[in-house]
């Protein structure tokens, strides 16, 4: 049987390039040959390997929702060799795209439930895919609460969409910046995301929660949700670990016996608890 070579990437063209925050970019990517575009499909929570030929590959989640056809978006901060090369690419440049990899958020199982989303910094892009996925079929879900914060006002990503979500009446958004990161005309909260979460505890009745972002946020956020009644298997997170192959072979992303790229990146808090603390 013909084995698909999982290391040959799709070729994608950079259709749009927006600067979200200092050193943080969002790329809209379109497939170079149309047969790939039709064959390609993914679900919320999956990630991909974005490669600049000659520099290497980097791992980010697919930030655009699966309900939007014809393109995929990704948001990344330029910190290493590959992400800096990615940031220097121009519109219409061709880069490599390998994916989709990993398991998905079980969005179908959340119909009729309230959704609580807690994230920080560039933890928002993987969950933006979930948020738009929910907003595109808004009537199927209960109320949607989002807690999002960043170091400073400039570091908030998707500023236009945050504004849009604020104005919607079916989304209540707690926006915050770390103390000292606010600007004079900043009207929203000031404080770390876990403290804002503790000041406005969400109700756990018929609700699920998603926590994503830097490991410190996961380690602080999960116990708070536990305190206000969220069962361990109703709290989801997406783990970020070093990844190279994306298909569970290269060994970089292991946490105990679990391969974050193949068995994750989406895990319930219950699964995280019986994994060794190596993430």
């Amino acid at each position: 049987m013909e084995v698909k070579n999982s290391y040959i990437p799709y070729q994608v063209r950079i259709a749009d390039k927006t600067e979200e925050a200092p050193m943080v970019q969002t790329y809209r990517l379109e497939f170079v040959n149309p047969s790939d575009a039709t064959a390609f499909s993914f679900k919320a929570g999956q990630f991909a390997e974005y490669g600049v030929f000659g520099e290497g590959e980097s791992t980010f989640c697919i930030a655009s929702p699966p309900t939007r056809e014809g393109y995929v978006e990704c948001t990344f901060r330029s910190s290493g060799r590959v992400t800096k090369a990615l940031a220097n690419c121009e519109i219409n440049d061709i880069i490599g795209f390998r994916g989709p990899f990993g398991n998905t958020f079980p969005i179908e199982q959340w119909y009729g439930k309230n959704i609580v989303i807690i994230t920080g910094g560039i933890g928002l892009p993987p969950l933006r895919c979930v948020i738009w996925n929910i907003l595109d079929q808004r009537e199927k879900f209960g109320n949607l609460t989002i807690y999002y914060g960043a170091k400073s006002v400039a570091d908030l990503v998707y500023k236009k969409e945050l504004q849009e979500w604020k104005e919607r009446n079916d989304v209540n958004l707690y926006l915050t910046v770390d103390p000292g990161g606010e600007t004079p005309d900043w009207k929203d909260h000031i404080g770390f995301v876990p403290t804002i979460l503790e000041q406005n505890l969400p109700s756990s009745h018929n609700a699920i929660a998603i926590v994503a972002g830097p490991p410190i946020l996961i380690k602080l956020g999960m116990p708070i949700l536990g305190k206000c009644g969220f069962a361990n298997n109703t709290i989801y997170t997406t783990l970020e670990n070093r990844m190279k192959c994306g298909v569970g072979k290269c060994g970089h992303c292991t946490v105990g016996k679990t391969y974050v790229c193949k068995d994750g990146p989406v895990f319930t808090y219950e699964e995280i608890l019986n994994m060794p603390p190596e993430y």
Binding site: G51, G54, G56, R242, K249, T254, E278, Y279
Partner: protein
């Protein structure tokens, strides 16, 4: 709401070898003729060669005289035939905005590995399980299909060998296409697979028919260090043992044990060349290195040597059992011989699993 996750299909244990085909005999003199037939057949023959440093390496050879005979084990395993230290995944050229990728999967030569030990051959069996069972790896698959493994039973073992402790033995046939055992002036040949038959069919006149023979009298008897079943369930709760720190204090965090090991499969993907013309390479990597798990933000989930050495041992004796159903250590003892501090894997396993 359990998430979708593949259940590990339990595989038969490494040492079950119920697919023996047939057996025959070849005299030691005809062995050289058989070797030369393989050479003339256009295949690349990789065999152990003794080097001035006193170590023995697998290396392509052109004549039977180069092949080393009285050695216990090679320094590196033969996995580099199917999982090379550096492998080109594809090469790319960028010309006026268009990128063309070419991979060299169609140019992989037919290879014969001569002079393997039964533990190495069992290592190939594990590699096949690991690379081909889920998300099959096309590079490994092509190389493995073009490789024939001819194994020789061990006449003697040194005190780093512990294959009998992981359910193998010096006469085990798992993974080999042909297993030969020296018996005085002759070689008892067990042909295990079609590839083995094709190799023997190149010079059928050299082989004589033979009844099934007992090999034990002609094989080495390495000491059994522990019972694998006992270790398998004790290691489940060995993660928090205080012994890990003591066991890994001597570790230098280099990659020698992982690169010499027949069953270590970790790798890194790196690009070389410029953005206009270059290659994407797959190179060996090792969980012992500090950079292996380091995020670009500097956060490192395993940032000291205790955690890294624990990952290596837990993966081989616990995680691999949960994920693939088989222990991923074949007891060849290379990691003990090659380690600069001679850290001892079975002594460490015993000390972290003692209650």
């Amino acid at each position: 709401m359990p998430l979708t996750r593949s259940k590990p299909k339990t595989k038969k244990h490494l040492s079950d070898n119920d697919y023996q085909m047939e057996q025959s005999l070849i005299s030691s003199a005809n062995l050289q003729a058989f070797f030369e037939t393989l050479l003339q057949s256009g295949r690349i023959v990789v065999a152990p060669v003794l080097k001035q440093s006193g170590k023995v390496f697998f290396q392509p050879v052109q004549a039977y005289s180069e092949v080393a005979t009285d050695y216990i084990q090679t320094a590196f395993s033969a996995k580099s035939v199917v999982f090379p230290k550096v492998e080109t995944l594809f090469s790319f050229v960028r010309k006026d905005g268009e990128i063309t990728l070419t991979d060299s999967l169609n140019r992989i030569p037919e290879t014969v590995v001569w002079g393997l030990r039964p533990c190495d051959a069992a290592g190939f069996d594990y590699l096949t399980e690991f690379f081909l069972r889920e998300n099959p790896d096309s590079y490994f698959k092509t190389r493995k299909e073009h490789t024939t493994l001819i194994t020789f039973g061990c006449k003697e073992a040194d005190n780093a060998c512990f294959c009998t402790s992981v359910g193998l033995n010096p006469g085990n046939t798992t993974g080999s296409d042909i297993l030969m055992t020296f018996m005085n002036e002759e070689c008892y040949v067990e042909i295990m697979t079609e590839k083995g038959q094709q190799a023997v069919a190149l010079a059928p006149s050299l082989f004589k028919a033979s009844e099934v023979r007992q090999k034990d009298a002609f094989l080495a008897k390495p000491a059994t260090r522990f019972s694998i079943d006992e270790i398998k369930d004790k290691i489940k709760h060995a993660y928090a043992s205080a012994e890990w720190k003591q066991v890994s204090l001597g570790c230098f965090s280099c990659g020698a044990c992982a690169f010499a090991c027949p069953t270590c499969t970790c790798f890194d993907i790196q690009d070389e060349g410029t953005q206009d013309k270059g290659v994407r390479l797959r190179c060996w990597d090792a969980c012992g290195f500090g950079m292996f798990t380091r995020h670009s933000s500097g956060h490192n989930p395993k940032n000291n040597q205790t955690e890294r050495r624990r990952q290596r041992l837990m993966h081989k004796f616990n995680y691999s059992v949960d994920n693939l159903g088989i222990v991923s250590c074949v007891g060849c003892g290379r990691c003990i011989r090659v380690c600069p501090a001679h850290l001892n894997i079975f002594e460490n396993i015993l000390s972290v699993t003692k209650d």
